[in-house]
Symmetry: C3
Subunit: 349 residues, 3 copies
């Protein structure tokens, strides 16, 4: 039997199946430093132990998206090695704060399977869970991905499209954010006076800055997450493909956009949930990423007066500044748009 | 009111004003590893806990320039986002040793303002201070920078050029260097036998090696310092600018030159002060950096027999080896010279 | 006397001489994170404290090759600054597990000297030893390198070619691997069910994936190891050389190939010894590295039932997938082959 992992094809998945992914990973201060170096993130809670302690954390937590990427990376060898496209995310909730020294594992449950009419591919829906060795969950999300069939003639392994929430309910937010002492939250050190009540639904914010991406950067990032998807690393094969070159991991785009969004959302320090996300267009090395946000909603958290939630649409573009908040031309996305992400962030009241 | 930071223009500064900068940062072993990976620094005190402990440190301190860059990076959003040019540094003193786990903050006091005759720009002088959460100072320096006016017609906000020392006094050196046990300083492990008395004023040292810089490297470094100056990251905007491409952070050049200077100054392990520095020409990715040093002065520290101070001129060039110590052609710098730095280093007696 | 290190020439070496190399280095979680980011390594013992503890380590050890590169890097300024070619390795044994916080030093003993018939160069054989400050050895290996003479007329400093073992004896393996609890080794989390008995001598494994290398990546890696060999960093000088560009550190190739080999050898978690290795062709930035392995031998370790040893040939290529296990065309290596490495790996019984 082959000792190398060929990846699963569509007909290899079973509804209800739970997949335990390799490789356990202890995340450290080294990972946090690399994350800062790769994205230039400046949210003070994640940047400073002193700031984090003052408001109620035992020390600076790891960036939520670093946790997401490490948990996500583990799923690639089992779920998406033979994927044609990553189609979407939903119901992503951050459930527990993660600190340097914590170890992360991931399992995925197959919650939906739908063959495409061509019979060449099918869509696989998984609910992936990141957890610590004590079994406590740190992150949960649904993703669906179009996967090749090995054999077109094979019968579809199932036929179920799961019902997914379009928005994570406010009552489900905040598990990964301890009660914080808002009076100890130093808005001067954080870099902005704007808090919960200062953001209005409908408000749009251009994050102004642009960040050009290099091949070395996205490869270093994606390997840090132990994400092995071949399209990111193998120029020899990619040059022969339809795309023609290495494709940048979509999570790298999310982290770049989130980091750029500090300029305008400096106190929205914690991502509590991701309602959905689409990688509208690919990003390549040499492109410059810009971003803008729209406040979709503003919600109090049941039983909490320390922080509130902003529902934000985060849009990233390439080689296209965002002063006019580019999104669609008619029904289609503008060609420069690369990411359309819908998430809940927590911010001091 | 805009939630994004537009940066201050010349007329927004006030003499005597103290600016508390965002973002607090806990520096870690992760930052130290990245610093080594970016510059290849080999000074043993910063490289080895065992070496550092043997001579009197509790553990290996962070590289002085890493501390400088982190402290400096915080000032960019408030001081130099609309800067035309970084004109100079003076009176920079390292005041306290910094170890992994320490958190750094920065404040700046406006100590000088001088409108230029064009009335389009002005020079802002700030004294910036890096400090720990307990208030203890780790670093202090003056920098002056040419800043655009928002409105040419606006009155100058002040008219004072501060008097600055051309050289930091020897009596002010050494606060960030604990008393060291010179007998425990292993010159073999350090890589050189040369100590204080072996360097003569007037002596010039070619540091021989060259280091080529890549876009990914300087971007990773500059983001690590949470320095947000746009010229370093945004190829899309830079391509349209007069410069035509991304400009490398001047501090990256200083760190490269300092690291190259190990070959010839292996025991000059601590930067105690920077008397002044000029970025004579820009550095771009693909250029190869070389460096040479001149011993300007040699001074005993009052009350200390463990270490002495060398006043060094550190000159960096691009695509130009330094065997003949290139500096000026007539009154002007040679076109290949990119850095002319004047600093005090401590070295065992 | 010159303060910069000119490197040793062939006639500067003496048989039996022991060279104490600079620079001591404390390796940290920061180095481990960078190692993961540079190679994407996924061996669970090195990736997870929890996994390592479960089987008997106090915490996750550092990757064996990271230890090798750090120990090796120290030898460059004294041994190979004037080297023409790195000719080979032998008798490399890993002797003690290394954890974050440990400090590494290196000494080398000159064990062979052989002038070439041209009298322009000679071969220097050294046995290098990596050790901790308490004197305990962590690594030992022999390397030989062709070094320029300063003066062709100088007499050869010695004439001895040492006898070297072609294979490290099985009885000498395992010192750096504590007794492990194989029942606690989670093969699911490790990513493969294959253990000692599942590998047969003669078996060949294509590791499938390819990894393209960027200039920034190999420079960051090689500086992390404080390896100062000029050919890796100085594009200005290299452009004028016969090679025409920067050459990638051979150790970078070994680490890339080892990391790729996870796909097929996921449980071969520890490199116990390197029997020999040849860098058959140079690697340059932009090339894509592939790898395959052959199981040469399978051996039980005397007195140990927890782990066994696989003797593996690890072959790396550039821009050449390895499905057909490329190696030689007649007597010569195929032009695409860049590495031919022979090593012992430990794997659970």
């Amino acid at each position: 039997m082959a000792k190398t992992n060929p990846g699963r094809f569509f007909e290899d998945f079973r509804l209800g199946e739970v997949i335990h992914h390799a490789t356990p990973r202890t995340v450290t201060a080294g990972d946090a430093a690399l994350y800062t170096a790769l994205y230039g993130s400046r949210f003070p809670v994640q940047s400073s132990d002193a700031f984090a302690r003052a408001i109620g954390y035992p020390s600076a937590p790891l960036d939520d998206l670093l946790v997401f990427h490490v948990v996500f990376g583990k799923t690639v060898p089992d779920i998406s090695l033979n994927a044609v496209a990553n189609l979407g995310y939903a119901e992503c909730r951050f459930l527990k704060v993660v600190h340097p020294g914590d170890t992360l594992n991931t399992t995925s449950e197959v919650i939906g399977l739908k063959e495409n009419s061509s019979r060449k591919t099918g869509v696989v829906y998984v609910r992936s869970t990141g957890y610590k060795p004590d079994g406590s969950k740190v992150l949960e999300y649904v993703r669906w991905v179009m996967v090749n069939k090995r054999d077109e003639a094979a019968p579809a392994p199932g036929d179920l499209v799961p019902t997914l929430q379009s928005v994570v309910d406010v009552s489900a937010l905040g598990a990964a954010c301890p009660p914080i002492d808002s009076t100890a939250y130093d808005f001067g050190l954080a870099g902005s006076r704007d808090r919960f009540a200062d953001y209005e639904p409908g408000e749009k914010i251009d994050h102004v800055d642009g960040m050009t991406v290099e091949e070395a950067e996205h490869q270093i990032a994606t390997r840090l997450y132990q994400n092995t998807a071949r399209v990111h690393f193998n120029e020899f094969a990619q040059a022969k493909s339809r795309i023609g070159r290495r494709l940048i991991y979509g999570g790298h785009v999310i982290s770049l956009a989130r980091s750029l969004s500090f300029n305008g959302l400096a106190n929205a320090f914690h991502i509590a949930a991701i309602n959905g996300g689409r990688h509208v267009n690919p990003l390549f090395a040499g492109d410059t990423v810009f971003a803008w946000s729209e406040v979709i909603d503003r919600a109090e958290l049941p039983g909490r007066t320390d922080v509130g939630a902003l529902r934000l649409r985060l849009v990233a573009t390439k080689d296209r500044p965002c002063a006019d908040h580019p999104l669609r031309t008619g029904k289609d996305y503008e060609p420069a748009v690369i990411l359309d992400l819908d998430y809940w962030a927590l911010i001091p009241r």
